[in-house]
Symmetry: C2
Subunit: 409 residues, 2 copies
């Protein structure tokens, strides 16, 4: 029998069950450290290690202004294996030219020396200010002191945070071939709202045995439906990345067929809560938006419309004040590049149908009442097919502008 | 000899020379009227008429949630001739289904009856609230009372305004084949910042004789480099459109060759100031941004990067507080979908080069000083070709959010 279940941890729900998520699977250790990169004195260096070589898959930012560590990590992930990930916060090592590449490479070498593995088996990333060289003197001193532990997952999750107001962790478990497996995930990113400091980084671990090509396909599928469906302001970061290590430490045969399917479901279950936590943590945000587009011809069409609507500043501003402004949903959807017939479109705010080719005449107060909660559920049906996708975002408040205007590099 | 010159009128510069622009060319009359659609009692109905059949060209919103009058006007412009344009403000006649189409068609019929022309020769549009039927009783009473006059251009420009804080008019003149010709233009639109009320509409007139196919090509070229390069928040309207009528009333042979080229230059000169005025009139905006992308492989590449940067909420918020945050320019440019090599990129704030593969080390105070004026000039060179494009936008302030959050449909 194959079953999957998931629990999540975020400071909002105060559910402690996912704390230390990335070291929950067997055979992983991790730690956090204060290297002194951040002026605040908060932890700014993190290391995640698998006791044995792991198959690996990763997805990276599509931004053309790619940061140095992303170049190095792409190369190191190309063969589908990794042993460790080293990450600093407080400095993005982006727009740093040739020196930046050398610095990112040296971070992998320092971690490899500590762990006794190859530098090419180390994933590296950085998050923080753009355009400044890494303080390599601090990193040369700190990395050799790192002491990863099997209960270090929570320290890891905290040390990669920048403007995040709470750590984001998620655990999913599943059974396959009579063995219980675990997937742990953690992420940082306050919704790409603060690009000098708010790269989205996500790290996943599992003790299940998964072949590299299967892991790659499953991971892309899960990321496309979770992290890639979070959009706060349409801006993307130069350092965004997500990586998974599968070390097979729980034993059993390499997953395939039905057992691979249940792994995919569990991976989705572990990653979607992280996406929602990132959306909720947008600075200045008072509520989360979940925008579902149904009745599309393809998942890609549904995705494109959902993401376009959820990022509309006009809709986001309206919802911050409980204005059930479905005209703004129609207007935003119209620029997604997906053809539709307006006469066949329906729009719901929560369970209220407010548009069905023309206005349905639902009283505005009634619709407004559906926008008062901490999460607003919107749905638009295109009336042309069976595909569906959901994107997550947040409202737009004056606090967002104040935060991003006042921050000085 | 062929020469072109242009003057503009906006309330900021208080230059009166372009007042009544659309009736400056010979053979045009126009008027404004208070039909009672707006609760404010401000003018909300406008008519523009050519004394004789005119060749015509138009561009329309790409938004899939197209408003009813856009459907009718597209059909009426298809044969390249028009006699008149009738427009109401205060109600967008969008998301109004079959009834909306009938209402838009009736507006053209009412105008045609008044003018003694065919309904198919009348352009129609509406701007205002989405999702409400037009008050046809008011329009049936008002349209027959309209009295277009040869000095009515300014009334026309005022009657199409919604949230605009000043009317937007522009005049260009040129000589060809020994004859002096005039182009007049007016626009409304507070930068698409307030979608229920801020459709972008633009109307151009000229007394030059231009063949329909040449007019279409010239108009698309001019709109692509002016109105289509304005972007305030990335949202687009359901009713956006721009139209030009060329009635040949100043005489002379149909323009061709060099005389057609000078017409194209004059049309650009008439339309770019309108684009800048729209950008400047974004609610809550305190300054205009002009983002030039040079060194691109194609104009399309330059356009895509310039528009993507100028709409970035993060950059816009930074500039509102004089933060010369070029990292946000890099980050925003990176998501335009145009490949480039970061090492070859240069960025200027005004005349200061702040990035040249890596940070140039310009002191922040010095760069900040360049962002203090009413217009901030940014340039990014991609280092890969000769093409260039400029997009216009505005900064993002807390006032923008307040305005759009508090407005209730």
């Amino acid at each position: 029998m194959t079953t999957a279940s998931a629990t999540t941890h975020d400071a909002l729900s105060a559910d402690p069950s996912a704390e230390g998520a990335v070291t929950r699977p067997q055979g992983f250790s991790a730690c956090g450290f204060t290297a002194g990169i951040k002026e605040s004195g908060l932890p700014d260096l993190a290391l995640l290690v698998s006791v044995r070589p792991a198959t690996a898959a990763a997805v990276f930012t599509q931004n053309q202004s790619t940061a140095a560590p992303v170049h190095i990590s792409k190369a190191n992930c190309a063969n589908g294996t990794l042993r460790a990930a080293v990450v600093n916060s407080g400095n993005a090592n982006c727009a740093t030219g040739v020196q930046g590449l050398a610095d990112a490479r040296e971070m992998t070498q320092l971690a490899a020396s500590l762990l006794g593995c190859e530098a090419e088996d180390v994933f590296v990333n950085s998050t923080g200010i753009i355009g400044h060289y890494l303080p390599m003197d601090l990193l040369r001193e700190a990395i050799p002191q790192l002491a990863p532990a099997t209960d270090g997952g929570e320290d890891f999750a905290r040390s990669i945070m920048t403007t995040d107001t709470f750590q984001k962790e998620s655990v999913a478990t599943f059974e396959a071939n009579g063995i219980s497996y675990t997937i742990g995930g953690c992420a940082k990113g306050a919704g790409m709202i603060h690009p000098d400091m708010a790269t989205m980084l996500a790290f996943f671990t599992t003790d299940a045995p998964v072949a590299a090509t299967d892991l790659d396909a499953a991971f892309r599928h899960a990321m496309d439906r979770s992290i890639n469906m979070v959009t706060v302001d349409g801006d993307t970061s130069t350092n965004d990345s997500a990586v998974i290590l599968a070390n097979g430490a729980a034993g059993g045969e390499t997953l395939s067929g039905e057992s691979l399917d249940v792994f995919c479901d569990a991976l989705d279950a572990a990653s979607i809560p992280l996406a929602k936590m990132i959306a909720r943590d947008g600075e200045g945000a008072t509520k989360r938006l979940a925008m579902t587009v149904s009745g599309a011809k393809s998942w890609e069409d549904a995705r494109d419309v959902a993401r376009t609507v959820v990022v509309s500043p006009l809709l986001k501003a309206a919802l911050s004040k409980y204005d059930p402004n479905w005209g703004r949903i129609l207007m935003a959807a119209g620029r997604a590049g997906v053809p539709y017939d307006l006469d066949r479109v329906k729009i719901w705010i929560s369970d209220l149908c407010v548009f069905d080719g023309t206005a349905t005449g639902v009283p505005e107060e009634e619709a407004s009442a559906k926008t008062q909660g901490e999460e607003v559920f919107l749905r638009m049906d295109l009336g042309q097919g069976q595909s569906e996708a959901t994107a997550w975002g947040c409202d737009l408040t004056e606090e967002y502008v104040r935060f991003n205007a006042d921050y000085v590099t």
